[in-house]
């Protein structure tokens, strides 16, 4: 969408493609990561009876900027025993994996990097790159803790992709679309059209869908938590056991890449939950722009609603992180294979039956 618009203005396809591909990074990911790191520290501090960063700027709002400057200045340290090529490449791959997700996410009805018809499948596929990056980092570090962390992480991400995919499959079956844009458009106008409340279906079908969708939403939220290695599933970087898992040996900007990727991922999975179940960029109750006749206002409102929903789920992730202890690696696997996968299969089956009504 944005690409066509830019193309019309500039007339150069390369230039517009370049701008479009950089937009999410500078408009969204970097500011978001800056904010989210600070928010995480502030949220955790207030949950724990502390103040959090207070020195840099008003109530510490510039703390992350100071941290980034510090990270930039740091020596780029590569331990002697590492596999240097893989070691240097791994953070890029991890970051690329989480960055590429943003290409297909519809921030509003006109701000979509690439309107791929297979949006959902694309997102699930590029997230797979992250696993490769993490394994690479763990192996190349030549450190037992890193290797254990990377192995755990790979096992965990791959396992938890199954329930995620099964729920996504259910949604695809109900709505008949793979495009995130079409999916968002289906849930238009009011919040009772959101998938969590049965989506665009009507009558008995809608009522039957609601419990399935609520359980499905929980399943997908839990499994995406595991996919981005957040508490209670943060065992790949469990600091009390594995120091910091696969990125133990990294410092400076390479560490910052992992860090940035983690926060970008946090938002990406929250955005997926928001798109699939909570109407994506759709407002819960109509648009102010339509009501007062200023139609150019609508995409801005949509952008607002989308980020608000995404940030809400990011906040829930932080909330969980500072409340819950972490699972042990076998319990984590048991939880996925014994509970989440059977539940999502049942949901898939029931949703299929209901759609026959």
């Amino acid at each position: 969408m944005i690409y066509e618009w830019l193309y019309n203005i500039t007339g150069s396809s390369i230039l517009s493609m370049f701008v479009v591909s950089l937009l999410p990074l500078f408009v969204f990911i970097l500011p978001f990561a800056l904010l989210a790191v600070l928010a995480e520290r502030k949220v955790s501090a207030h949950m724990q009876d502390r103040l959090g960063p207070m020195r840099v700027g008003y109530h510490g709002i510039l703390q992350t900027v100071a941290d980034i400057i510090k990270l930039l200045q740091k020596e780029d340290l590569v331990p002697a025993a590492t596999d240097k090529k893989l070691f240097n490449f791994a953070p890029l791959l991890v970051f690329a994996g989480s960055y590429a997700v943003f290409a297909a996410i519809p921030f509003s009805s006109i701000f979509i990097g690439s309107q791929i018809q297979l949006g959902i499948i694309y997102i699930v596929a590029v997230t797979g790159l992250v696993v490769a990056g993490i394994l690479m980092a763990g192996w190349a570090s030549n450190n037992k803790y890193s290797l254990l962390g990377a192995m755990r992480s790979a096992a965990q991400i791959i396992s938890y992709e199954i329930p995620t995919l099964l729920i996504i499959l259910t949604i695809i079956m109900i709505t008949g679309t793979l495009s995130l844009y079409t999916l968002s458009e289906l849930q238009t106008s009011y919040f009772w059209n959101w998938m969590i409340l049965g989506g665009p279906a009507t009558g008995l079908q809608k009522i039957l869908y609601i419990p399935l969708m609520i359980i499905g939403c929980l399943v997908i939220y839990i499994s995406t938590l595991a996919e981005v290695n957040r508490t209670p599933f943060d065992i790949p970087e469990a600091e009390s056991e594995l120091v910091s898992g696969y990125h133990t040996e990294y410092s400076g900007m390479k560490f910052a890449m992992f860090f940035l990727a983690e926060y970008a991922n946090m938002f990406a999975v929250s955005a997926i939950v928001a798109i699939i179940f909570f109407g994506g960029y759709q407002s819960p109750f109509g648009y102010l722009g339509n009501a007062i006749g200023l139609h150019w206002l609508v995409p801005i409102e949509q952008f607002f609603w989308f980020t608000a929903k995404g940030l809400f789920f990011v906040f829930v992730q932080m909330w969980l992180r500072w409340t819950l202890p972490r699972f042990r690696v076998d319990q984590l696997m048991a939880f996925c294979w014994k509970y989440l996968i059977p539940i999502s299969f049942v949901i898939l089956l029931l949703a299929g039956l209901i759609s026959l009504i």
Binding site: D49, Y145, P232, W322, F327
Partner: protein
């Protein structure tokens, strides 16, 4: 073709976030399953026992502080008690009461560190800060009393270095009042959290038989189901004047003597300690805390073994006097040191993540193991 597999040796520590000090564990792993654990201790050895021989008796007290640095008050308590028995000193009643109050406050402070860090080991970081918030109040009480927050040199042979601060009683009452709801909050947040129970129940089970064979004492022994507490079973000071219970492990969430039992026994001990402090504050008599301090500490020739129930178990002092101003020998029976020996038994067959859970649950202090 069968894949060739081999055991991996993972070196945990001495610089590791959850070895609670400078402990080095050599883990022999098969995948993530523990085959064997070899603890390497001694990174914090400061020759306490040998050093004491060159000191006069009162000069040893600051050194006892530095053994179990989370329960310094109790180390001094034990040493002072041993010396008083050796020299036959009767201490004023007020001194005994203050020692008990300090000792129990120290027990709460020590258990708070144990529980908080245990939560952090399991991955819940918030309880850690809640516990330290409450411990801070206790440290403040110590600070107004003797000026130090960690290493007090407060309990002297025959008396105390200072009387209580005028605000002490009021602040202690306020602390008890505020601490009770906080303890409930800790239970809601951590003790009865489903994930926490999943992680700790049925993990690192210490059978009573093994515990007795290894000489494990304190909360770890009681969690295995034995009602053995020196405050009741070998009473010293004024402990027999108070009404309190000795909690024992019940196997509520798993088998008796698992990590959860060892964790929860400490929560319940804090409640009992609060009871003791409340009663002691009510009954505390007036008096001079320095009246019985001897001018010159020169015990008669002889030897004594005195044991007290410190937050980690039976802390024993064996002192041999040759009649001079310096001790001929000071031997300490350190509860953490004894508990550490049973640790490899607890770990076998569990996973790497459980090592952290088990190590946290036996609550060792490296300063005391290495001395």
């Amino acid at each position: 073709m069968a894949l060739k597999t081999e055991e991996m040796v993972l070196n945990m520590g001495p610089q590791h976030p959850s070895t609670h000090g400078v402990l080095r564990l050599e883990l022999q792993l098969e995948g993530e399953i523990i085959k064997d654990v070899i603890p390497h201790i001694g990174y914090l050895h400061r020759c306490f026992e040998k050093h004491s021989e060159a000191m006069t008796y009162p000069q040893v007290i600051p050194y006892t502080d530095r053994m179990d640095y989370l329960a310094s008050m109790y180390n001094e308590f034990g040493y002072a008690l041993a010396m008083e028995r050796l020299m036959g000193i009767e201490v004023p009643e007020r001194v005994e009461y203050i020692r008990v109050i300090m000792g129990e406050l120290q027990r709460i402070a020590s258990h708070l560190v144990a529980l908080g860090t245990y939560g952090a080991d399991i991955g819940a970081f918030t309880p850690f800060l809640f516990c330290f918030r409450d411990r801070e109040r206790i440290l403040h009480l110590f600070e107004i009393t003797c000026g130090a927050r960690l290493l007090y040199n407060y309990i002297w042979i025959g008396g105390l270095s200072n009387d209580l601060h005028p605000d002490f009683i009021r602040l202690t009452k306020e602390f008890i009042k505020d601490f009770k709801p906080n303890l409930k909050e800790l239970n809601d947040l951590l003790s009865f959290n489903a994930i926490f129970i999943e992680r700790t129940a049925d993990v690192g089970i210490l059978p009573l038989e093994t515990a007795i064979n290894y000489g494990v004492t304190g909360p770890n022994l009681r969690a295995s189901g034995m009602k053995w507490d020196l405050r009741k079973d070998d009473p010293y000071s004024v402990y027999n004047k108070f009404d309190y219970e000795i909690p024992v492990g019940s196997g509520e969430k798993g088998k008796i003597g698992d990590c959860w039992d060892r964790y929860f026994i400490r929560v319940r001990e804090m409640e009992e300690s609060l009871k003791i402090i409340e009663q002691a504050i009510e009954q505390i008599p007036d008096g001079d805390v320095k009246s019985a301090i001897p001018k010159r500490v020169k015990p008669p020739e002889g030897q004594i073994y005195t044991r007290v129930e410190n937050p980690r178990g039976e802390l024993g002092y064996f002192i041999i006097s040759d009649g001079s101003l310096n001790p001929s020998r000071v031997k300490v029976r350190a509860p953490s040191f004894v508990t550490m020996q049973v640790f490899p038994e607890l770990c076998k067959g569990f996973m790497v993540a459980d090592v952290v859970a088990i190590l946290g649950s036996i609550d060792i202090v490296l300063g005391e193991i290495d001395r």
